[in-house]
Subunit: 310 residues, 3 copies
């Protein structure tokens, strides 16, 4: 079994299997190292820089008694680049139990899974997916608000190239949310295929350009980095500037029960001065990532009830 | 004891000690982690980039219950470069049990061994040697073909600067092979000292420029990367292009019992379309590397019957 | 508790707690891995390159049964750099037991400690401090010479920007030494605040420009790299060249009971030809670093008698 895309996962499995196991992992982690995955070894193979995802998985396997190692590849540096499939076969030959892959092009995880005996975990494939981020985000919403059904979620930022929001929208499509507001510059809209998936699943959505238009209505305000080169360029071309950040005013608009999420690292779109507001959940979200990833590793190790990629 | 050069190792030790132990390691590795080297620590000190050799040794020690860490040095980056001998003494002071060294100049491993209490394993020294690659290559031949004696082996590619073929030729010189065919551009011939060693040992050899001239006769066709800058340059100066790759035609010439080896990473000289042919042994060869390195670490830890460098 | 600056530590604690524990660690280390910190995990977060300090701490925790991982940050590489405080909070969320921080600006360790539940260990903050280097240096003096009280110590090199000497001078200010000789170019003098601290503590000091003026008088000659760009520039502006290196002549001047220390890596200021002289203690000093860091980790893990930062 592999973890390749958000669409693999249904609400029943999330709420019946993954989330309760992640809750138990939160308890386990507090008491230090454990032996559930003693001797199991994770290999991370990264074609793009990353620290948070790697470190989160390293912590997850370490807390379960296993170990991690890996390599960072610069895909532009080789005269004759080594084939991804060759690398994956060699790593399998070395007997690793998990292969965590971040690839610079869409579809990398699926190519790896096609030749890998060890479970492949997609840690991001180009502008494609980042399914474990979506799982930890959904877990955070569920843990903070007690449910996924009937919620209104706003996804904010570069919705064309940001993997977190792409994967989360795909996952939420099957979770009974009441609706999704996509807040982005006109040049960086949510992808057409996501809109098709939402329409097929009967989930209402809107496309907007100002977070203040939705702040009073949503249960979850999900921000992403708003100061990338791409976003700056996209905003220059707009007649009226969009608004993809929170400030004290936006926090006032927001319901008392709502939460603000961010995959981190953040820029000025989520000022640290707001951290004291208990609705800002980004560090709890990061910590939840540890517990969700521990749960995923346990499930992959048993190869038990993990849903298949389509 | 240290692992410095292929000439250290005689056929009797290979077939009587190393290879049977590597066979047992293959069995061990399947059942996950073990405790034979629990608490033992390997330090890798690399002055050239490498991933395969490092990862292979990391896996080897992890599967035996030990741990690995290390540093990558860019020898050109320091105003006053630190002496290799200083580094080795500090690493010894930190109590490591094994020192895996890849150095950018010939003789690095011998310099390190001169000041190291911990066993030094030469993981490549410039255009010099790569003895553990030669050991895993010889083990692969022995495992695939049942013997080393009487075999015909072709080594193909840049035979002046490629460490794998240099070390393997040196090792096979003492293993009773029937003969070695060196297939390379005229500008990148096998080194003169290798030819002297083979002549001294009474091993016949030929120098050729087309793999098709030898394919029908050999038991082992050992390819190396054929698309480096150096090889391209060397081929431009030849009146008639050499041939240092396999394709469907070469595979037809090859005996049913022969094998094709490659230290990886490969370029177009070994097209992935041929991987389905069971004679292509390169991924089994990579996996054998794990088992040979596990065996070497065990032998070095006991400091028992490892032959001395000359 | 955190390890932030040399001024935290008093002589009584050094001689009564840290040094005896480091002695016991030296014994432990010889017998291989131990379980005192089994399952404990150290995270290193480095904003400047370093290998020695990282490797020394990695060895320390490994010898006590724990594990280490971390990341190297290039502070200039990000469009919107992630806040140090954000990084520290995420790392805490992942449950690490120790945070080893090297930062590129003074005050980084204190900022991290302000938001960290896990003990922060300052592994260098810009031109600020490197307190664990000072602790291992003081331990080396104590171990080699049997005491700190009444000793004369010369600190040599770039005394403005070299963290080792800054931290050691601060630590020795409270250890009853007889006096400190600062030997540096006029442009790179010991910092004014260090001189104030020494004056307040009643420790005599001198500022000189030639190591030969003090060699016959001191118990400890502490060298640092004398061939940095900064030192070369500083020396060009001096009418008469200073002298910040040892050679056979300086070794003759030195008392039989004196020692020569160096934090390594060294340049030509301490020629390897002198290593055979038993007074050259630099490799014993490096090894002592392992034992002092093992002792510090044990003390931090128990959160027992570690003195607080001021």
């Amino acid at each position: 079994m592999h973890v390749l895309e958000a669409r693999q996962f249904e609400r029943a499995w999330l709420q019946g299997t993954l989330f309760p196991l992640a809750d138990r992992m939160a308890g386990l982690a507090e008491f230090g190292a454990h032996r559930l995955l003693e001797g199991r070894r994770l290999f991370w193979l990264f074609f793009e820089p990353s620290t948070r995802t790697r470190v989160s998985f390293e912590s997850a396997i370490a807390l379960l008694g296993g170990t991690a190692t890996g390599i960072q590849v610069d895909p532009g540096a080789e005269l004759v680049p080594e084939r991804l499939e060759d690398r994956v076969q060699v790593i399998n030959g070395y007997g690793y139990d998990f292969l965590l892959l971040r690839y610079h092009e869409e579809g990398g995880a699926a190519r790896a899974a096609a030749v890998s005996r060890a479970p492949v975990i997609n840690a991001g494939d180009g502008a494609g997916e980042h399914p474990t981020q979506a799982l930890l985000d959904a877990y955070t919403i569920w843990k903070e608000l007690g449910r996924l059904e009937g919620l209104r979620v706003a996804l904010v930022g570069d919705l064309t190239y940001e993997r977190s929001t792409t994967s989360l929208a795909r996952l939420l499509a099957h979770c009974g949310v009441a609706g999704i507001d996509f807040v982005s510059p006109a040049l960086l809209p949510v992808r057409a295929e996501i809109k098709h998936e939402l329409a097929d699943a009967g989930v209402a959505f809107r496309e907007l350009r100002d977070v203040r238009q939705v702040a009073a209505d949503v249960d979850v305000l999900y921000l992403t980095r708003a100061h990338t080169e791409r976003l700056r360029y996209a905003q220059r071309s707009e007649r009226e500037a969009g608004h993809y950040a929170v400030d004290a005013h936006v926090m006032q608009l927001l319901r008392p029960s709502a939460i603000v999420m961010h995959p981190l690292p953040r820029g000025p779109e989520l000022p640290p001065e707001l951290d004291a507001d208990p609705r800002v959940a980004c560090f709890r979200q990061a910590r939840n990532g540890l517990h969700v990833r521990m749960a995923l590793l346990l499930l992959l190790a048993d190869a038990s009830p993990l849903p298949a990629s389509r």
